[in-house]
Amino acid sequence: MNAQVVRLLSGVSVHGDQHLAEVERDLVQMDGLLDEAIKKLCASFMAIHHVVDQQQDALNGLLAGGMPATECSARFEMLRGEINQHVGAAVTGLQFQDMTSQLIGRMVQHLAGLRDVFDALGTNAPTLPESSNESLLHALNHISERVGACCNELAGSVRSTVNQRHMESGDIELF
C-alpha cells in the first residue's frame, strides 16, 4: 500500500518535473534569442544613424559646392547600399518575435499540462475511500493512470519547433 502511494507520488513528481524542465529550457532559449536580437538591433540602429550622418555630410558638401556632382552621386549610392545592408540586418533581428512567440506558446501548453497533472489529483480525482485497502489501491491506480495519460497526450502534441539558439539567418536549401 505504501509502495503504491510512493509510486503515485513519484509519478506526479516525474511528470511535473518533465513539464517544468521543458518550460525552463524554453525560457533559457528565449532569453538567449532576445539578448542577441536586442544586441543586433542596437548595432543596426547605431550603424544606420552613423550612415545617415555621413549622408548629411555629403549633402552639405554638395550644397557648399565642394564636391563634384558625379562624385556626390557615387557617394550617396554607396551610403544607400550601406543603409540597405544595416536595415537587412535589422530585419533579421526583428524576427525574434516570431520565434519567442512559438516558445511562449509551447511553455503555455506545458503549464496547462502541469495543471492537468495536479487536476488529476485534485477535485476531479475519485474520492479516496477510507475503509478498504483494495479500494484505495484501485483509486490510486486510477489517479496514476490519469496523470500518465495527461502527460502522454501532451508529449505527443508539444514538439520543439524552435531550435535556433542564435539570431543568425538560417540555412536555405533548394530541392
Binding site: G88, Q95, M99, M167, I172, L174, F175
Partner: protein
C-alpha cells in the same frame, strides 16, 4: 509587370518583415494569415511564387503545399517553406509534398531575394 508573391504566416510581424523586404526588391506581395487564408487567396489570383510557414493554426504549411499542388495552375509555381523547423525529416516531408525549397528562420533579406530571383527572376 512586377512578379507577385503570396506570403503565408500566422505571425503578423514576420509578414511585415517579408512584405517590407520583398517590396523593396520590387515584388508585389499578397499576405495570408494561415493556410486556409493562403489557399483562398491563391484561388483568387495565381501568383508567381508562394512563401509559407509550416506551423500555423488550422491548415499547416505542408497541407497548404499539397492543396496547391493539387490545383492545375499551381503545378509549377515555385513554393518555398520558411519556417523555424530545421529537421531533415520535416524537409523530406516538404519535398515530398511538393516544396521547391526549405528556408530556416530568421531569414536574411538579401539571401531571400537572391533565391527568389533565381526562381522567378
Amino acid at each position: 509587370m512586377a512578379k507577385t508573391i503570396l506570403a503565408v504566416d500566422d505571425s503578423g510581424s514576420l509578414r511585415q518583415m517579408l512584405a517590407f523586404s520583398l517590396k523593396a526588391a520590387g515584388y508585389g506581395v499578397i499576405e495570408a494569415v494561415d493556410g486556409e487564408d493562403g489557399l483562398e487567396k491563391a484561388r483568387k489570383q495565381t501568383v508567381d511564387l508562394v512563401l509559407t510557414d509550416q506551423n500555423m493554426p488550422g491548415m499547416d504549411g505542408l497541407s497548404l503545399i499539397k492543396a496547391l499542388r493539387g490545383m492545375k495552375n499551381y503545378q509549377s509555381v515555385p513554393i518555398l517553406m520558411l519556417t523555424t523547423e530545421s529537421g531533415d525529416d520535416m524537409k523530406a516531408m516538404g519535398k515530398a509534398a511538393g516544396a521547391n525549397g526549405w528556408m530556416v528562420k530568421p531569414f536574411d533579406p538579401a539571401r531571400l531575394t537572391e533565391v527568389i530571383r533565381k526562381l522567378i527572376g
